[in-house]
Symmetry: D3
Subunit: 134 residues, 6 copies
């Protein structure tokens, strides 16, 4: 179904870079589960390693926003970019990290409102108010 | 510059619906400033009233996310939708409501990361892991 | 400002394909005005000729929708694709062809509503109802 | 499959806001069918009520465009925003309201043409012609 | 599943324009296979003919980029536009024309990087450096 | 004009991470010019460092595509994402690395064609042909 091979654990074990990244994903997340995103990226070990390094730094390191807000921002971008897998995976992640139904409901309200006003603004081609320019 | 007329205060005062909405914007925000978005929407008083009603309910009513997180989600959607005016106006709003430089920096890190993984996922056409489906 | 040269009338006259297309644009539109889109495409005469041929067939040939509805659909797509030049040029074209303020207002209402529900649907990842599948 | 629960009629009946909105959807559309969009939004009764109020006002109220043109604009935006559910549901709605095959064919021709010229314009970064600015 | 009928070979044979285009697709590609894109466009024979003419000119004519690079650019645009069918069909086409795993891996790396920096740039609303303007 | 401060060379010199990255950009590109993208990212030194590390690895390291094809793919994604700064900067970069007018013209033809067929496919909601699934 995917346009690339999804690497099994056995295949991952045979490539030193992929094996190292998969092990770090498991250790960092304290879970044996490695989702399809990483199994697809394994086709390009360098890209896998860079992408995991970046995601680990942003999403699992020190954070002023906290994990739930980070995931909600991730859902917002993924929705606007129409990425189905990403909406599913980050909504699941947000819930696992503690997002409540009330937070999800408000997230959707803001996403919907933003999309509407984004399109209205673009259709009107409004000049930016001086007050908004620093 | 815009594709529609931007209503002046005098023009707004002459239309009962527009006058009422502008007055409510000023009262709700405790500021005399009415930005171009509303001055453009004034060309369609019904749409102006519905849009303001919706924005007032979502962005100024009770909130579990709080005003800064709401604005950061707004920035995330506006960025993915490439809306220049919206990025400017909501970044200004987020700062006015207390967004710190550290929060803005992390917001940008999450937006950039999400965009990257959104595109990688779409290019690989990954099936959603069973674990992510409720 | 553009990433390509915008051809002047003198430069256009010196290339037989560009000269022919510019002449046909003027004859078809009954106007001497050739807008920047065609002056930019002139850098690639074959692409200019194919694109004009396509636009002429769709937008100036027999139409069941009529010129105003065609231009409103063009504005809708251009807005969702965040194309500033296109929003400006097709809003001007729609007005020149007779779009009223009331039609423009309703166009904006539909665009804004569609954008909102598009994003809500994507965020919820809704399965298509059986009733909608033929 | 969805990221939210799709409310059944029994669940909807137990929430006064949801029950009221579902009843109004049925009365307005003169049909017992309530599609998944509303069943998903029911998780956030306030958002459900606001969204239905807005859609009812725009799509079922007085209209200068008429229902078929409104739905075609909806399809155009939904296509550019890559919303699968929305393309399906609004193409079905457009047909139910009388869109002919010839209208659908011309709609697709305009959408395809607009997308092409949107991208060409963005790639060339063309300045807006003075003639298009009011 | 589609919003339009997918024409069978028998149906195609009964329409002179569709029959001619299908025959030219088969002759040009030296293959009996006609994919769903053309079977859907057959509902609008004129659009089918124009679209095939354009694709034939761009993708099968003289090329300075070569077929693999052309298909990789096609994948890049289709990914950013979230077109699932297009990502599948053009990845298959690229591989059939000789794209290696290493090329695909690097293509993904560039797409992911571009998406990330696109979003960062839009979120920062950066002015274009003078050095980039010709 | 930007939503963030653009760091001057003096400001950059005062932060050890930013100073190190700016020095590496200059050494890698063999040019004193540091464009606004990096001056904006400097507000978040960690993000600056990660983003430069990624761009350096992808765009200046070993490549099977070569620098001109890489930049053309970058332009394709930036166009579909409507990023003005990115289209300008990467078109300038592509030309500096040797992209010819003929290559740029064909790039535009492919981008325009892909956008058109992307939208047509989405509007028709075509099922992926079995032949395209591996």
């Amino acid at each position: 179904m995917a346009t690339v091979k999804l690497w099994t654990d056995d295949e991952a074990a045979a490539d030193p870079v992929v094996a190292r990244v998969f092990a770090d994903i498991r250790a960092t997340r304290k879970s044996d589960f490695v989702n399809n995103f990483w199994r697809g990226l394994a086709n390009h070990p360098d890209l896998l390693e860079r992408t995991w390094g970046q995601l680990k730094a942003v999403m699992t390191g020190d954070s002023v926003l906290g994990p739930v807000v980070q995931e909600m921002i991730y859902i917002a971008v993924s929705t606007a970019n129409s990425c189905q897998y990403c909406v599913h995976s980050h909504t699941a992640a947000a819930r696992a990290k503690g997002m409540t139904d009330a937070q999800h409901a408000e997230l959707m309200a803001v996403i919907g409102l933003a999309a509407q006003t984004n399109h209205l603004v673009t259709a009107m081609q409004l000049p930016v108010d001086e007050a908004f320019l620093r």
